[in-house]
């Protein structure tokens, strides 16, 4: 008997570690949301992973979510002047299908909540490009009461493109840098996020008071 109950306690403990508490959703809404924790996914090995990385780098699907004023600089990329399609980059309307999240400049607390949610809804491996000074150190909003200063405290960032605003050429350069990084196998933000999940979550929850969503948005 004792043994059994011990086992049960252990099992409960393990389950608690594997699942999220989702304490901050509204009352009675636990059933609406999945409570699994994100896990670290081992990459493929050897040439398969390198091939996969090449495919990933050649097919960058941007999440079409203009999070800040910098998003205005994304539009020209689609035009005939810059034509990002030739690099295998194209926008996708839903996070489920996108692989690259471009944070378009300043991120207010309110936007941050949406950024976290959208980021978590993307399927890994996923990459984040921080666009403009605001994502790096707050930029001109560095002393604002509702704008974050450092994006990488909230979600893992692969490439920062400095400038206020960076021009489309800079963006293209940034994307090429991202491609190189991916091909080199250095962009593993997804696993980084899963590994340091609690740290990221604590940072996010420090500023987002009105949480009302599960701890991880599947």
């Amino acid at each position: 008997m004792d043994n059994d109950s011990n086992n049960k306690e252990q099992l409960d403990e393990i389950r608690k570690q594997l699942t999220l508490a989702n304490n901050d959703v509204r009352e009675g809404e636990q059933a609406y949301f999945c409570d699994a924790r994100p896990v670290v996914v081992e990459p493929y090995r050897g040439i398969l992973e390198r091939f996969a990385n090449w495919a990933r780098s050649e097919s960058l699907w941007i999440l079409g979510f203009g999070t800040g004023c910098g998003a205005i600089e994304l539009r020209p990329l689609m035009t005939s002047r810059y034509d990002m399609y030739r690099f295998g980059i194209q926008p996708r309307p839903t996070p489920r299908q996108a692989g690259v999240f471009v944070i378009g400049g300043y991120a207010s607390v309110k936007t941050m909540k949406r950024i976290v949610r959208s980021y978590e809804q993307m399927q890994g491996p996923k990459f984040v490009v921080g666009l403009g000074s605001c994502t790096i150190n707050g930029g001109m909003y560095w002393d604002s009461y509702n704008t974050i200063n450092r994006l990488d405290h909230y979600i893992p960032v692969d490439v920062y493109i400095a400038g206020c605003m960076p021009r489309p050429e800079a963006l293209l350069a940034g994307f090429n840098a991202l491609k190189a990084k991916i091909r080199a196998g250095e962009c593993d933000g997804m696993n980084k996020y899963a590994q340091n999940f609690d740290w990221y979550k604590a940072n996010q929850k420090q500023i987002i008071k009105h949480w009302e969503m599960p701890d991880y948005n599947w």
Binding site: D24, A31, Y32, W218
Partner: protein
């Protein structure tokens, strides 16, 4: 044999002696009256018994010599002769029986028991009527007429109410004018012929005017339209017991006098009588439609019935003697009308029942006294001429007699008036049966004005703010409170039910009902026996046994088991004797019906009427399979209609829908009736006959099918019936019309227009079928109520069957039956699965559901298979139907119909996807989070149907080859088999291969996905969706379901205009306006009525001159 003189002498003597008996004791007097009436009833019965014993056959019985008594010992012309033939005996028996029951009723009711004076008057009334029936002397008739009248005048006043005095006085004025006319007529006749004896008056000419005076006076006594305003006041105002006597007993005597007069009358006279009857019949019915007072409505019904009998008297003889018809109609009318008046008397006086609009306590009555309501139903059915009651048979024979003589106007009057009568009588009946939340006039689904929402969960963290926290909390709570009050779902407030008491004993009414029932059964036996079709009475037997079981409150499960057993045995015995098309439909009706009954087993406890009605319905459907005679068929068809009406009316809000169903069914049945009469070769498969027979029969069957234009009963009936019953109606009953189309197919290949070759009735049916398919599918798209969607879907599918049938080719017929069989299977799945869903969720509105796949996976699977099979997507059965349909259509050259059918089948996808999506997919609602899978009894028929569908899908030849055999010989062979490939002249289809290829191409990607998505494939929950970087607020607002095809509505919504409904409503409103404006002539002024009486007499005289 006892002399007829006693029939007059005893009651008269007793009437005078009654005060003496009263001295001995009240009860002695009452006992004496009842004993006398019992004796008077027994007297003619004894004559009848003697005659029946002494004569070998029916024909001889009609020629039996009357029992005559000459008063005073002199022979006839000098003295007054009393004679009692078979007719006299029959009518006397009925009159005295009714009088006996009527007086008993008045004696046993709790209030307003008759005094001694009233009893005396009642006895003199009976004396007068008996005298009227028996005497053969014209002046003596006058005397008895006055005896009857005077006692009636006095009886009306016995009520002591203000209104009764008014009515009585109006009656006296009119009656005295009528009797003056009679007197003048008698004396004139005497002057011309020198004789007053009916047996000795010459039949030569010259007496026309005198006879006309007599006829006019008698007609006036019989309350013809429009000279009958006073009589309605009498029915309304007098004590219901007296009204019953006036309506049932008083009129019968006068009517019989008119009948006795007929041998003397010329054809002109008879035509005038028939015309007068027809006018009275039709206008009384029209006006009755508008009545709000039940007794006045019954009064109008009475005058109408008398009109019908006048019509019978005036319209000559048919295949069976007038007296038999008259006896049937009269007996039926007397007992049912008297019974209904007594019922109004029984139920709590004037308060609750008198008004049509007040329905407050009637449903409570239905719950407290189901037997009483059943009795009312029987009386109404008898009055409306539904089988098996006597008037049903009379109507059949009356129409049979009228049609061959080409008296179409009278046929139209009889049938149209009967339809209206059924309409208002059953409208009253639905007031009893409907539930308290039933609005009574549902035609379309009911959507709540605003989508009600459950109050959203309170926000977990109330923001705490410096200095304002308390205020904010308070404000938040007030806001929540306002929210809660504004968002509560409006609840149906049940009215406090008043207790309903029956004042007095219903025994006389019950006896009258039983006499009617057994009279009806006897008539049924009498009319069906010559054709050796007594087996058609099996459904009635089932009904009786079921009624018995219900009275004993046997649980429904046991009843259903018994019913299933019975149907099983019946099928076992019946089916082997069938072959060809009847066998196919036999399996469909009986085995399909058994399948449906499984779902009904879910019901717990005692469900009054459910099992018995379902069993009866299936038995009467079984009758259709082998019935040979026209009458037998019509009997079974009507029985099926009325039983299915009773099944529908059980639904919670079905009263309006059921009434519409009944009206259309009866209308169709009457159309069939005329069509059948027109079939000279009788009712046999593939009879050919006139174009009109085809059109009329076709119309009747098309109504049952629910063809566009005649479909407006269909959605309500299918949707508002109980959920499992809907399945039965849609998947089994709807095929009855189709089966009859097959049986009478020979009628539909006749050319419609001589000038245009190729345009046959079948061609017309084909277009109707295509239109029905399109309309059904299109209307189904826009319904929010799941059952309306399925109902319209059924209509569309029936359209395909009709279209296929109308092709009149081998492939077409195979497809029609193929569709019928598969429709049975997939509609069973859909309807029963939906019944389960409705059972669990408690709503029928689709947008209130959603996400149920996780809670009810089996039902989901069943619906999935159902919609694939219905939509025609390969590899399931539906594709076979579509393939055969288009191939057959193109082979026949019906290209545009094929295009229309294709369009309809594309539209079907819309509602099918909506159905499965809004119920099973999308967002699960909070209130459905805990519901369970449908009950097992629902799942069993679904699983059986799924197995059936899968089998037929895998091996189409399992079904198609037997169907091919069933219709072998009707058409030249156009299809061939190469292995399992079905080859037509146009194309080919290999169901087996399609199935294998589909399975193959399905497995490959499935295996790939299972292999690659083995790990790290996270199953997420309903709110884990990308929602524009937001989170969904509530399942209700996230579930896309309401007004699902909004773009479609904005593009094609103008086609949703309910043209058919509008048309039928307009027809109804025209009838109503006619009724309203016609009844204005009843101004309530006694003098005006007297003027009408006078004018009526003058007009009749003028018409007589014109007629000569």
């Amino acid at each position: 044999m006892v002399s007829p003189i006693y029939a007059i002498a005893i009651p008269l003597g007793a009437a005078f002696l009654l005060p003496l008996f009263e001295k001995a004791g009240k009860n002695a007097a009452k006992a004496l009256v009842l004993a006398i009436l019992a004796a008077l009833t027994a007297l003619p019965v004894s004559w009848l018994v003697v005659w029946i014993v002494n004569t070998p056959n029916l024909a001889g019985l009609l020629r039996v010599s009357p029992l005559a008594v000459d008063t005073g010992g002199f022979p006839a012309p000098i003295s007054i002769r009393l004679a009692a033939g078979i007719g006299e005996a029959l009518v006397m028996a009925l009159v005295n029986l009714t009088a006996f029951l009527g007086i008993t009723h008045m004696l046993v009711r709790s209030q307003a028991k008759p005094t001694g004076k009233t009893l005396v008057l009642l006895l003199t009334l009976v004396t007068g009527v008996n005298g009227l029936i028996l005497t053969r002397d014209l002046f003596n008739i006058f005397v008895f007429l006055e005896i009857t009248s005077i006692s009636t005048y006095a009886l009306i006043a016995s009520n002591g109410s203000k209104r009764a005095y008014e009515a009585g006085f109006k009656y006296i004025i009119a009656g005295s004018i009528a009797s003056s006319i009679y007197l003048v007529g008698v004396i004139y006749l005497y002057r011309l012929t020198g004789s007053l004896s009916l047996d000795h008056l010459p039949r030569s000419g010259g007496t026309a005017i005198a006879l006309m005076l007599l006829t006019t006076a008698l007609l006036l006594e019989l309350k013809p339209f429009p000279a009958n305003g006073w009589s309605l006041d009498v029915y309304q105002a007098a004590d219901p017991g007296i009204s019953a006597m006036v309506s049932a007993v008083g009129a019968s005597g006068v009517l019989f006098v008119l009948y006795k007069l007929t041998p003397l009358l010329s054809p002109t006279h008879l035509r005038l009588i028939a015309g007068s009857g027809a006018v009275t019949f039709v206008f009384s019915q029209v006006i009755a439609l508008r009545q709000t007072d039940v007794r006045r409505m019954l009064g109008y019904s009475s005058t109408a019935q008398i009109g019908l009998m006048l019509l019978v008297i005036g319209s000559g003889r048919g295949t069976i003697p007038t007296i038999v018809l008259l006896g049937l109609l009269l007996g039926n009318h007397m007992l049912s009308k008297a019974g209904l008046f007594w019922v109004t008397d029984l139920i709590d006086g004037n308060r609750t029942i008198a008004s049509m609009s007040d329905s407050g306590s009637l449903p409570a009555l239905a719950r407290n006294k189901p037997l009483l309501v059943a009795m009312i139903g029987i009386l109404l059915a008898a009055l409306a001429g539904l089988p098996p009651f006597p008037s049903f048979w009379a109507k059949w024979h009356l129409v049979s007699a009228l049609v061959p003589n080409g008296r179409w106007l009278l046929v139209a009057v009889v049938l149209g008036g009967s339809l209206m009568e059924a309409g208002y009588l059953f409208r009253w009946f639905t007031r009893f049966t409907k539930a308290s939340e039933d609005p009574g006039d549902v035609h379309q689904e009911r959507i709540p004005a605003d989508v009600p929402v459950t109050t959203r969960p309170q926000t977990g963290t109330v923001s705490s703010r410096s200095g304002k926290e308390a205020l904010a909390r308070q404000a938040a709570s007030t806001a929540a409170a306002t929210q809660a009050t504004t968002q509560t779902i409006p609840q149906v407030v049940r009215q406090a039910e008043q207790p309903v008491e029956i004042s007095g004993s219903p025994v006389p009414t019950i006896i009258a009902t039983l006499v009617l029932v057994f009279g009806g059964i006897a008539a049924a036996v009498g009319f069906l026996a010559p054709n050796q079709e007594l087996i058609l009475l099996v459904p009635l037997a089932v009904l009786l046994i079921g009624a018995l079981l219900d009275t004993l409150r046997i649980p429904s499960k046991i009843q259903l088991l018994l019913g299933m057993l019975g149907i099983g045995v019946y099928s076992w015995l019946l089916l082997p004797s069938l072959g060809g098309i009847p066998l196919v439909f036999g399996l469909l009706f009986l085995v399909g019906g058994l399948l449906q009954m499984i779902a009904l087993m879910q019901r717990k406890g005692h469900q009054p009427g459910l099992a018995v009605l379902v069993s009866t319905l299936l038995f009467s459907l079984g009758n259709l399979l082998f019935v040979q005679s026209r009458l037998g068929f019509f009997f079974s068809w009507e029985l099926m209609s009325i039983v299915s009406y009773l099944l529908i009316v059980r639904g919670r809000a079905a009263s309006g829908a059921a009434l519409r169903y009944l009206m259309f069914s009866l209308g169709g049945a009457y159309s069939i009736l005329v069509g059948l009469v027109l079939l000279p070769t009788g009712f046999a498969p593939h009879a050919t006959s006139s174009l009109w027979a085809g059109i009329l029969l076709g119309t009747g069957f098309l109504i049952k099918i629910g063809t566009v234009g005649l479909h407006i009963w269909l959605p309500g009936a299918y949707a508002e019936a109980e959920d499992e019953v809907s399945s039965l109606l849609s998947s089994v009953l709807s095929k009855a019309g189709l089966f009859m189309l097959f049986t009478t197919a020979g009628l539909f290949i006749q050319p419609l227009l001589r000038s245009v070759p190729g345009v046959t009735l079948a061609y017309l049916l084909g277009w109707l079928g295509a239109l029905t398919a399109l309309a059904g599918a299109f209307l189904a798209v826009f319904q929010e109520d799941i059952k309306y969607t399925l109902a319209y879907s059924s209509m569309g599918q029936m359209g395909y069957m009709l279209l296929s049938f109308a092709l009149m080719t081998q492939l077409g017929w195979i497809n029609s039956m193929y569709l019928a069989v598969t429709h049975l299977l997939f509609k069973t799945m859909l309807f029963v699965a939906i019944a389960g869903v409705v059972h669990r969720t408690g709503t029928r509105l689709m947008y209130r559901m959603g996400g149920l796949i996780s809670r009810m996976p089996v039902s989901f699977f069943s619906v999935l298979i159902g919609i694939i099979a219905l939509s025609g997507v390969p590899p399931l059965t539906g594709f076979g139907a579509k393939w055969m349909l288009y191939t057959a259509l193109i082979e026949k050259g019906w290209y545009l119909q094929a295009g229309m059918a294709f369009f309809a089948s594309a539209i079907a996808f819309l509602y099918l996807f909506r159905l499965i999506h809004t119920i099973f997919l999308g967002q699960l609602k909070d209130e459905h989070r805990e519901i369970r899978e449908a009950p097992l009894w629902y799942l069993v028929p679904q699983l059986i149907a799924i197995i059936g569908i899968m089998l037929v899908s895998m091996f189409p030849n399992l079904l198609i080859k037997p169907l091919e055999m069933a219709i072998a010989g009707y058409f030249p062979q156009t299809i061939a088999w190469q292995g399992s490939t079905l080859v037509s002249t146009l194309g080919y289809w290999n169901g087996n291969a399609v199935m294998y290829v589909t399975m193959g191409v399905f497995l490959v990607p499935l295996v790939w996905l299972l292999a690659t998505r083995r790990k790290h494939n996270q199953k997420v929950r309903q709110f884990n969706i990308v929602y524009s970087a937001e989170r969904p607020d509530r399942p209700q607002t996230t579930h896309y379901a309401y007004n699902f095809y909004a773009p479609y509505r904005s593009a094609l919504g103008s086609f949703l205009t309910p043209w058919a409904t509008r048309f039928w409503k307009r027809v109804l409103s025209v009838v109503r306006v006619v009724g309203s404006s016609t009844r204005r002539i009843y101004s309530g002024d006694g003098q005006t009525y007297a003027l009408y009486v006078l004018l009526y007499a003058i007009v009749l005289m003028l018409l007589l001159r014109g007629g000569n």
